[in-house]
Amino acid sequence: MQFSTRNHPAVLAAGRHLLPGTTLRADPIVLESDDIEGVRAFCRADRLSGLLATAVGDGAVVVEDERLTAAIVEDWHAALEACVVLEALLVRVRARLDDAAIRWMATKGPAIAHLDFEDPTLRAFGDIDIIVHPDDWRRAIDLLDDDALSRPHFHHYVDRFGKGVTVLVDDMEVDVHRRFAIGRFGVRPDMAECFDNTTQFELASESIPAPSAAIRLLHACFHATLGGNRELRAFRDVAQIALGRPDAVAEVWEIAHRWEVESVVASAVLEAWDRLQLPNNLDIAVQARRIDINRADARALRVFANEDRFRRQSLTTLGALPWRNRPTFVHSTWMMSREHRR
């Protein structure tokens, strides 16, 4: 993706459009015909087509050629079709997990679309993400991953230290999370505690469990700071939940302090505010600037910001583990690497 396209004013206008709790005034952005293909491609990839189409419809972005406006709207409609197909998959996954009495929650895309956006058509997604309760992890993997038996060391690593696995269900990808991230910050949260206070939304007359607003915000911050493809949509999620759920903000700082991941939340908020050009006097931004990020955390954050290789990201785990657990981590990583090379 071109650097210039990522930073195109129309992309930023889409990323900021209809953010809750703010009155962001700006002159309409004229999207020139020569730039439209690039902006459309970026927005399709970053799941921003709905916000771009709505920004065009509301006059925040001006497109003078009606055929090109129609093409932007088509991108949105295509994304909506993908969303309902994936939600149908989520309902089928729900049946399999519930039948096996596995505790789980839907997170990221569908949960944010239904619980944090007034209009779920504005939050598209390209896969399904679920979090499984740590005590049910092994059973969930046995149920969902057809390759579970062929890579035992990988699954041991994920259970002890990893982020999760991507499995295929009906030929579509489902990201099954054991944690919010790999590395130093991934091993700190108490994932079982995430299940203490949950919420739900409805799909096809079924109740779908989801994390509380504070945990959704925390997960959005982890993704924005530590995930791959850290593009504008990831930061929109942070701002969307933080601004739309002010009650969750105090809770997320309390949880982040207890789990020693305040630097992740602060980094996500500051980068979201910077990328989306939001007012710095909003409470959460003020709080984020007050967080003192220590040198070890800052070093680990840089590894993720640079999107370094998996091994470097994983090795940031070592400093977060008690000495007694470090040999287990090294052994588990080594066994997983050997298994991967076979």
Binding site: A88, R92, S205
Partner: protein
């Protein structure tokens, strides 16, 4: 006189002012434009009591001011498409 009663089936859906895309739990979809979003919006939920098809058509005629026969045909066409994938229920 068409005495059928209608409601939504178990469905996933997204609607904008211009379009509605409806999916069954098995993943089959129907993507419909024109009056379809307005029809979908007026359909009672899967849990709720169905409404008479004639009532639905009259509401659409009143809201959109289109000819009755055309609204009836459009409504039946899209309802049958949704029924084919299990996302609408038409009871006699």
């Amino acid at each position: 006189m068409d005495h059928r009663r209608v409601r939504r089936g178990r469905a996933l859906w997204r609607a904008t002012p211009d379009t509605v895309v409806v999916a069954a739990v098995d993943g089959r979809t129907v993507h419909a434009d024109g009056s379809a979003p307005a029809i979908w919006k007026l359909l009672p939920d899967h849990h709720d009591e169905p409404i008479a098809l004639t009532t639905l058509v009259e509401q659409l005629v009143a809201e959109h001011g289109a000819p009755h026969a055309r609204v009836y045909d459009d409504t039946v066409n899209v309802l049958e498409a949704w029924e084919a994938i299990g996302c609408a229920v038409l009871d006699s």
